[in-house]
Amino acid sequence: MKSVRLDNVSKMFGTAKGVENVAIDVKPGEFFTFLGPSGCGKTTTLRMIAGFYYPTKGKIFFDNRDVTTLQPNKRNIGMVFQNYALFPHMTVFENIAFGLEVRKLSKAVIKEKVERAQKLVHLDKYGNRKINELSGGQQQRVALARALVIEPDILLLDEPLSNLDAKLREETRLEIKRLQVELGVTTIYVTHDQTEAMTMSDRIMVMKEGVVQQIGSPQEIYNKPANHFVASFIGEANMLEGEVIEISGSTVKVKVDSDLQVEGVLDPSADKPKLEVGKKVKLSIRPEAIFEGQGQNQLHGTIQLVEFTGVSINYLVKVGSATLKVMIINKGNQILNRGDSISLYVPEKGVYFINE
């Protein structure tokens, strides 16, 4: 268990930018996730931590040891690759034993550790199987066992679930989390799937085009997105822009257009956006923060689209010039039809001002 610190790390590929000024501090035992769309530099950052790339600028520390240019085989990391990268010419047992053999442990110790690792990932009976005789999920678990058996200081996972089907993905997700909690190993996890990131992580770093957008716990990222990109990338959000017409204490009133005015409270803990009467401001309202009925921030609109998912009823509602996504939890309420008018309200804590 070690901490990982990236000190303003940048990576250039020739003149093309990989990532820029990444500064993070992963605590011992923490589950830390890099989240972002394809090509945003997640893998690049992870590979610098693993030692497959050297940063163009900045330094990397494990605890207080500078490992910026240390060879990958000297870092004591466990890494799980997107395509698993299992050794096709070896059996399951030999794959898992590889890292232990490198460490020159005795045969008996290796056997014992490998068997324990196999149990851990529920592959006890599969030691003699060839890799191509395993299903995708089993291969995934071999890769995990192989990375964990060496008792790494840091576990790195690069989109480990992306090659699995939906059902298996959920199962394996729980499995990885269980192992991580059980072993307490510092884990850095790369994904572009926000559900994975939200459910597994202690903290998330959201990236876009090589630049860090926000670092925070899943709740912070979801409830207090730092900018437009984060708000729309994580979950769904109604992004609105309007003019501040009144500030009283921490309550701010914004006019989006003549039919749509909302009031919200500024979050005392967050950095305060510089708001002034007459200035433009961006705000985000999550679909589930909008309720049907009468209350604060009363709105009236017309339904344009109805979607029933079972858990919820999703409406697209036209309010003034804006179209809002609304999600009503299904408690057996009457489902409205396209063209019906609907009354909605937004409690003031559902309105979030974006600091941009």
């Binding site: 693993a50 497959f52 990391i77 690759f81 990268a85 050794f87 010419h89």
Partner: protein
């Protein structure tokens, strides 16, 4: 404490070195050094000899080559080109027709034909030509049987001269067209044709507009290849007595002691061959003619009328006979008693002695043992060089990759005769690259020649295997704590093993059958197998010569079989 410190200092010095971006150049320099010593330097020496001849420096030799007073050289150049062009045309016709018949039609005998169609690949050059002279030469079995059958005054036909050369070329080289064409035809999506038909295209239109354009890249590549190989052909002109070809001229100039002229002719032939190599690389780079679609089963048209069925049966029977005859005749003659076969149609007396002698008589066993040893030594060199070069080429980044690639491929384009002449020019005198030894006349010169000639084989088969191997597997090993060397040993080599082995076996049998360079530089104490066959032929010991030949063929068939298994039927890519 103290030692600890030095150790860690050394470590940091080492890791600084290995992390430097110039470190890779230290690693690849041995590869370039080998190429410099055994490919470029010999080539350069030949060139020097051609311009700094015994009669003083200058381009005199080249003037003489192109002079219109004694036109022997120009004639040779012309004949070589002429033979090559005709060979390309005949090979294309035979190869493509075979490919279409076998890939597109279902007829009795198709299966067996589709296997036997590759038989010519199993014939080592010398042995192939030999069997042709036994079969179709002036006193060959076929012409004589026809003569006897129809009571003719003289044989109705016989293979000789340029025609003989072209027939042999066609038989041995059509496989290049066959392989690429059948790959291309397999890749032709039948739905394309169906689409064209559904759009109202007639058969001929489909051929011109759809099928031919899709085959063109494969055809161009094979044409260049066959042209190059035909230019380099030496055995066929030798056996059919066509002296006016470039390779024969080089051989004659050498045996007449006109070394400057031999060097000049070699240089000119090399330039032609290398230009073709570059043309070919350029064309391959420009167009990717690989078979892209996988697993699309080709519809085979069934022949319906009984007449067509019988006709096709008859024709495939003839095809099978023609393909099998060369091997059958070798086997037959290998059992014949030496010296007994004179004017009869087939040998009159038979014995098993030649095969026993192969392994028991010291004098007949000697050439086999020599060839095994020399081929083994050369192959070890090829493995070391080929695997290292393939790894550097596929897995690392450095400036000069294209140069390395072309330098490795050059020996493949150079005619064996030229390789021999180059080595003679370079190593008749002590040089740094031969550790101050004269190599000509020693054991080492032939393994060196085999090493140079077969340089690309293991390189290519290993590169192909490495290309299919995901780099992240190596990274996984590194992340588990394995250093570079351990990763290379435990992961890279085992995973590329089938590729390495396929190339190794191929290099080994090619070494065992090598004739063209051997005949120019062998020394009597280390006479290789193929030269022994050649000499037995001229001593009229046909039985022994053919027994040697059969042994070679068996080895090649064995190797082809293994590499077919190893590469899942993609052995064609290795060859």
């Amino acid at each position: 404490m103290n030692t600890n410190q030095t150790a860690s200092q050394q470590e940091s010095w080492w890791s600084r070195l290995t992390q430097s971006k110039y470190f890779i150049y230290i690693l690849i320099s041995p590869l370039f050094l080998v190429l410099l010593a055994y490919v470029i330097y010999p080539f350069y020496q030949t060139f020097i000899q051609s311009v700094v001849g015994t009669e003083g420096a200058g381009i005199g030799n080249y003037k003489r080559f192109f002079s219109l007073e004694s036109t022997a050289n120009l004639e040779a150049l012309w004949t070589s080109i002429y033979i090559s062009v005709i060979s390309v045309i005949t090979c294309a016709i035979v190869g493509v027709t075979m490919a279409f018949l076998i890939e597109r039609y279902e007829f009795p005998g198709r299966k067996i034909l589709s296997i036997l169609v590759l038989v010519p690949m199993a014939l080592p050059p010398l042995v192939g030509v030999l069997s042709f002279t036994f079969l179709y030469g002036e006193s060959g079995i076929i012409p004589r049987s026809l003569q006897a059958l129809f009571n003719l005054e003289s044989v109705p036909f016989s293979l000789k001269g340029i025609t003989g050369v072209i027939v042999v070329h066609t038989f041995t080289m059509y496989t290049y067209f066959y392989l690429t064409a059948s790959a291309a035809i397999k890749g032709l999506d039948p739905s394309l044709e169906e689409a064209a038909t559904s759009l109202g295209s007639g058969r001929i239109r489909i051929w011109i507009k759809v099928i031919l354009p899709m085959l063109t890249p494969a055809m161009v590549a094979s044409s260049l290849l066959v042209f190059m190989i035909a230019m380099a052909s030496y055995t066929a002109p030798l056996m059919f007595g066509v002296e006016r070809t470039m390779t024969m001229q080089i051989y004659l100039s050498r045996t007449n002691g006109n070394l400057d002229m031999a060097a000049t002719q070699s240089t000119i032939l090399s330039i032609v061959s290398i230009s073709f190599l570059i043309l070919m690389r350029w064309y391959q780079g420009r167009r990717n003619f690989q078979n892209q679609s996988k697993g699309i089963s080709v519809h085979r048209t069934e022949l319906r009328t009984p007449f067509m069925k019988y006709l096709s049966m008859f024709l495939s029977f003839i095809g099978v006979i023609i393909l099998m005859l060369p091997i059958l005749v070798l086997v037959l003659i290998s059992f014949s008693v030496d010296g007994e076969w004179t004017i009869q149609i087939i040998p009159p007396a038979y014995t098993f002695d030649h095969y026993i002698a192969l392994f028991t008589d010291e004098r007949t066993w000697r050439p086999i043992w020599n060839s095994l040893q020399m081929s083994f030594v050369a192959t070890i060199g090829n493995i070391l060089f080929g695997v290292a070069a393939a790894y550097a080429m596929i897995r690392t980044r450095f400036k000069g990759k294209a140069l390395l690639d072309i330098l490795i491929m050059i020996p493949w384009a150079l005619p064996g005769t030229v390789v021999a002449v180059n080595l003679i020019a370079a190593f008749s005198e002590p040089s740094v690259f031969s550790f101050n030894q004269v190599l000509i006349g020693t054991f080492w010169i032939l393994p060196l020649a085999y090493f140079v000639r077969h340089l690309p084989l293991i390189f290519r088969s290993t590169s192909a295997a490495l290309m299919q191997m995901d780099q992240s597997v190596e990274e996984a090993a590194r992340s588990l704590g394995a250093n570079w060397w351990y990763t290379f040993r435990r992961v890279v080599v085992p995973m590329a093993f089938s590729g390495i082995l396929a190339g190794t076996l191929l290099a080994m049998v090619q070494g065992l059958g090598e004739f063209v360079a051997s005949i120019l530089i062998y020394s009597t104490s280390t006479m290789p197998l193929s030269v022994a066959i050649f000499q037995k032929m001229y001593a009229f010991q046909f039985g022994t010569a053919c027994a040697y030949g059969v042994l070679q063929i068996l080895l090649i068939i064995f190797v082809l079989f293994i590499s077919q298994k190893l590469t899942n039927g993609k052995a064609g890519a290795v060859i």
